[in-house]
């Protein structure tokens, strides 16, 4: 099996999932989970080889002319992520297959979930920037479908749109960043870019590329101030939340940051930006979660906080920090997946997610309670769960941060205290606490619903117990992959008595105290929030969208005003400016004023036409205007005669006569002229008219001075009599050489006549 093939089959499973569910019934989740689980085992089997230093690469031609390939690159870091995406994905599918039972369109839901899994797995194994971008966009699109799954609810649609717009915007920024990044390298190949980190750092494209890539990563990973879409995404069904928050989607941004850490990282701007954004997000997320009462919202904000922590650690970039980042990534994926699935279970069994209406559940579902409490223990960072190691490393990294440890450490400490508090609160309030009246008696969730949470917690527990034998092999190559200068540290559960342990103990104590006095505490936090943090980002976001729509309407109204003459004016002005520029750049025209070729009678005719034109334009009488039109027509006829256009003259005489008669009949029915325009408008129009008129004049002079070759006309002259047997060449052209054109012309005239007839008939009724 290969990575590319695996993805292709996964995509096919996603495509047939909606249709196959009918036949698979309630076992659909189990069946669909087979393939991701196969992938999980496949990558697990490769783990020893990868730990030996193997990097799997595959490449398929896609757009060779542009240097774009469909290629894959699997190193230790991709491996860790693949295991998370596919491993957690397997459990999520089993869980979702049962969770979604009562809802309509289950098959489609599983299909979306598989599509999403394909996209995420594609990102983490991409070996080409463009390949990565394609999968990145696919996660945005499929998450839109998942978040908006209950599309009858307006808030689900709004949340989905919000997530799509924000991550879509980030996706565009990311594409821009990738393109800029690839310019100095001359290739989109990830392996080459990773092997030559100095090329981009020496290039002046570094900063723009960095800003764009960071924008992409921050929006996807819900960093402050883009954090608000993530809690909004809680309107999605629980399996989606569990998957989005643990291993996928939001981790994609962190993945990109870590992936490009060897290339883009280590500079001052990288360190400062990531540290500031990360620390802010970490604390803001934790702070907001204190006062939430919706179980899923609480978890969502702790996810925001955890993502902030990850960004902060990657930004810090020391050996401790990178180690901490990878371990914490694993820790968080394991406990957050569990907690969200459990939140779904609790909602299913009790009908509510409001923690004020939950309590005393331990006696109804002791097993589920133990599973969830273990996950909470991991979140609080208490031994022996893996979370403890994660937290210890974060403390070590914060204390040893080369820059700004004095702000990172206290805020990190407070964040952890809040995590301890939340863990205690969720565990004690939900499972012991005061028991409300439940609609029906809650029971243990069925096997598929508890299987995933149980296994994830078990993994976290085992890894925590045997860190150096179990957790180290899983993470060591991931650490060196994203930070080649550093080594993976040997993980230990017991570090001896030191500052960090003291800090941990102090954290637990503070968290407990916070819980003990939670009633007074919540009130005061609420007060602070109401006073200082009333800004609702979601509302701002949607008012921004609304304002944008208003602006667009205004813009369209201004440009598409509906006045024909202003459309024409725009057209005339721009066309004449263009032609004037062309004339300006052409050779100057040599004019010789030779009066000998100006017969006096023709001069008189031209002057007559010009006078008639002026009269037709300015006259306030329609009759005078029409008579002037007649004069112009017959004047032009004379010019045709003078310059050998005999047929033209004959035609003009007939046409002009007809036209004047026709116009007279129509004018008879129309009202007399009224003054519609102001003098200013007239002057403006006259100016435009002059602009156009003069350029046509210059155009004629240009045409007259340039020598035109007329090979076609020569052919007509030579063959007109000998081949077509006609003396009048113009007539021969019309009825013989260009006979089809003349047929078209006759058709036009017939259609016009039909139209006129129809319109007149219409008038009779």
């Amino acid at each position: 099996m290969s990575t590319g093939l695996f993805l292709l089959v996964l995509l096919l499973v996603a495509a047939i999932a909606p249709f196959a569910r009918k036949y698979l019934g309630n076992y659909a989740g189990w069946v669909y989970a087979i393939w991701p689980f196969t992938g999980f085992l496949y990558y697990l089997s490769l783990l020893p080889a990868v730990n030996e230093g193997l990097i799997i690469t595959e490449s398929f031609e896609w757009m060779p002319a542009l240097g774009i390939e469909f290629s894959f690159y699997v190193d230790g870091f991709s491996m860790l992520f693949s295991l998370l995406v596919l491993g957690i994905g397997t459990f999520i599918l089993v869980y979702a297959g049962y969770y979604m039972r009562p809802y309509p369109m289950k098959g489609r839901f599983l299909g979306y979930l598989l599509l999403f899994m394909t996209a995420m797995q594609g990102i983490v194994v991409s070996g080409n920037l463009i390949t990565m971008f394609v999968f990145w966009e696919l996660t945005s699109v499929s998450s839109y479908l998942l978040i908006g799954y209950w599309h009858e609810k307006p808030e689900a649609r709004a949340s989905a749109l919000q997530a799509l717009l924000i991550t879509g915007f980030g996706g565009l920024a990311l594409l821009g960043g990738f393109v800029l990044l690839a310019i100095p390298y001359g290739t989109y190949d990830l392996a080459y870019i990773l092997s030559e980190p100095d090329i981009i750092k020496d290039s002046n494209l570094y900063l723009p590329a960095l800003i764009l890539i960071l924008l992409g990563a921050f929006t996807k990973s819900a960093q402050f101030p883009f954090h608000f879409w993530l809690p909004g995404a809680m309107t999605a069904p629980s399996p989606v939340s569990a998957y989005l928050h643990s291993a996928t989607m939001v981790k994609a941004g962190v993945f990109v940051l870590a992936r490009f850490n060897p290339v883009l990282g280590g500079t001052e701007v990288w360190t400062y930006t990531l540290t500031i954004v990360g620390v802010t997000t970490m604390f803001v997320g934790a702070w907001i979660s204190i006062t939430q009462v919706d179980l899923k919202k609480i978890l969502a904000y702790t996810t925001v906080s955890a993502l902030g922590t990850l960004v902060l650690l990657i930004g810090t970039g020391t050996e401790y920090a990178i180690n901490a980042a990878i371990i914490f990534l694993l820790v968080h994926a394991l406990y957050k997946g569990t907690l969200f699935m459990m939140a779904g279970n609790i909602e299913k069994k009790t009908g509510t997610r409001d923690i004020r209406e939950l309590g005393g559940l331990f006696k109804y579902m002791p097993f589920a309670a133990v599973v969830m409490i273990m996950a909470l223990v991991s979140m609080a960072g208490v031994p022996p769960m893996l979370g403890f190691l994660g937290k210890e490393l974060i403390y070590e990294a914060s204390a040893a941060a080369p820059k700004a440890f004095w702000i990172i450490l206290p805020l990190g400490f407070m964040t952890n205290v809040i995590m301890v508090f939340l863990s205690l609160r969720l565990a004690i309030d939900i499972f012991w606490g005061k028991e409300p009246k439940y609609g029906k008696i809650p029971a243990e969730p069925s096997l598929p619903l508890i299987l995933g949470p149980f296994f994830l917690v078990l993994v976290s527990f085992v890894l925590g117990l045997f860190p150096s034998t179990m957790a180290n092999p899983l993470t060591s190559k991931a650490i060196t992959a994203i930070s080649p200068l550093h080594d993976a540290m040997v993980l230990k559960l017991w570090h001896g008595f030191n500052l960090v342990l003291a800090l941990s103990a102090f954290t637990l104590l503070s968290g407990y105290l916070m819980f003990r006095f939670r009633h007074t505490l919540l009130l005061s936090v609420d007060k602070v929030n109401i006073r200082y943090f009333r800004k609702e980002f979601t509302r701002y976001f949607f008012s921004m969208i609304d304002n944008f729509l208003v602006f667009t309407k205004l813009k369209t109204k201004t440009l598409q005003h509906g006045y024909h003459r202003f459309y024409l004016m725009t057209l005339f002005i721009f066309a004449s400016i263009l032609v004037w520029v062309m004339i300006w750049r052409a050779d100057p025209i040599m004019l010789e004023l030779n009066f000998s070729d100006m017969p006096l009678n023709l001069i008189a005719v031209v002057i007559l036409i010009i006078a008639a034109t002026l009269s037709a334009v300015v006259s306030s009488s329609r009759i005078i205007a029409l008579i002037s039109m007649g004069v112009i027509g017959f004047g032009i006829t004379i010019i045709f005669i003078a310059y050998s256009g005999v047929d033209l003259a004959i035609t003009m005489i007939m046409v002009e006569t007809l036209l004047v008669i026709l116009a007279m009949t129509v004018v008879y029915h129309l009202p007399t002229y009224k003054n519609f325009s102001s003098t200013g408008a007239r002057m403006r129009d006259a100016l435009v008219a002059t602009l156009v008129g003069t350029f046509f004049m210059v155009l004629v002079l240009q045409a007259g001075t340039s020598s035109l070759e007329t090979p076609i006309s020569e052919y007509f002259k030579e063959t007109s009599y000998s081949v077509a047997y006609g003396r009048n060449i113009v007539n021969v052209i019309l009825v013989d050489y260009r006979a089809l054109d003349t047929l078209g012309e006759i058709t036009v005239i017939s259609i016009a006549a039909l139209g006129i007839y129809a319109m007149m008939k219409l008038g009779k009724k």
Binding site: I639, L648, A663, A686, M697, E745
Partner: protein, 113 residues
Amino acid sequence: MLLLLAILVGVLYGAAVYLLLRRNIFKLILGLIFLGHATNMLIFVAGGLTSGRPAFLRGVQDETIGMSDPLPQALILTAIVIGLGVTAFALTLVYRFYKVTKTVDFDELSENE
């Protein structure tokens, strides 16, 4: 003479543009007619001016050097006829337009919508 005719073409185009920018629908039609005249003259003048030598053959051996160019004339002939059709149609349209809307002002039309 070329200069004089060039000025004539310019004036015709100027008049056409000015009339096309009017609010009165009838003036728009006049502008359309002017546009036709101007374009015919443009092609005619740009195609070269030949005095007193129509593109007419007396026999097979007739000398063609110095004869006027028949091609622009053929083009203009087509244009004149089609121009007639278009103008006649437009005039009828104006007539109907006024019968239906009772106005010849374009701006009132857009407000009515």
